[in-house]
Symmetry: C2
Amino acid sequence: MPELDLPAQLVVSSDGTLTGNNGIYSKHLGDMRGVYRDSAAYDAAVVAQGADALVYRVESQDHGPHSGALTIGTSRLLPGRYGEEFAVTRGHLHEVSDRAELYYCLSGRGVMLLDTIDGRSEAVELTPGSAVNVPGEWVHRSVNVGDEPFVTLFTYATDAGQDYQLIADAGGMRRIVVTDGAGGWTLRENADHVGYRKA
Amino acid sequence: MPELDLPAQLVVSSDGTLTGNNGIYSKHLGDMRGVYRDSAAYDAAVVAQGADALVYRVESQDHGPHSGALTIGTSRLLPGRYGEEFAVTRGHLHEVSDRAELYYCLSGRGVMLLDTIDGRSEAVELTPGSAVNVPGEWVHRSVNVGDEPFVTLFTYATDAGQDYQLIADAGGMRRIVVTDGAGGWTLRENADHVGYRKA
């Protein structure tokens, strides 16, 4: 039997604070170069807000990469627009690509944008109390389509890992989430997308 | 690559309704024979409420037992007392014993009671917004220590399975959760517990 892990108590706030976390990272505007399709709008945002403006923050708790272990965390993605495109996380495919992930919306209004490497795409809107069971084999990214922070509780197998480079190498995901000009969101094909490399 | 699963959208209500579920089961008072230590109090409850009185209800969604898949669900455990002991679920150890599980409290007030088969015990209180990362190798059971339904959102690897018989064969978990006589709860050793069989 591996070393015994102890049950971890967590307190999850709707603003994304995770009391009991043992890991935090933040992504700032300067980290997001190349992510948004409208590079002029991105450059203007860096000038206006500064490269150290927060884009999103992730807090998480895990017991280490034991077989069968779960990582639990919160993601707080601030509202933003870069041209017509809404603020996004970098997105990833799990390195162990069959690993699923739960996202449960705690506050705000967002979209989970999903692609398979061989050509399927989906988009699932998330509002407080709604959730998505992201199966293995789906590249996925959070998008904030509202005016408030989009906050989710997530869980995945700790051994899953994340391939963040896959989307960058593909010129972005297959579609982007843009304003519909009426307070809502719509999907647009991403002309820069060149297809995903096979794992 | 296995057959592709599609992202599943779920709506999670704080009363435990899971829109998008593909599985529901309920446990009624008549199903709980032998679970509570005060058998006279249990028998009296069956007479008073009927064997078909609801004790708890579980709704869940999964994509089938594919490697890496997650089952997502809700558990709604009604308040109750059988003598001094609070209402519980049957509890389980995962058949694949290293599999962890997340419980996130949506409403009510409960305790996650945990044992290892070789002698450790823990108890974690859960109120709305709090959560517990239950590692592998821990037998666990939900207890409602409040006056309202105790509702949780849970997630575990679909291939984990549940051994529900282990606790029954041991004469119950090592400890029971009882009223402290002042509106709260406390732990008491379970004199009927004979130790867990090894897997």
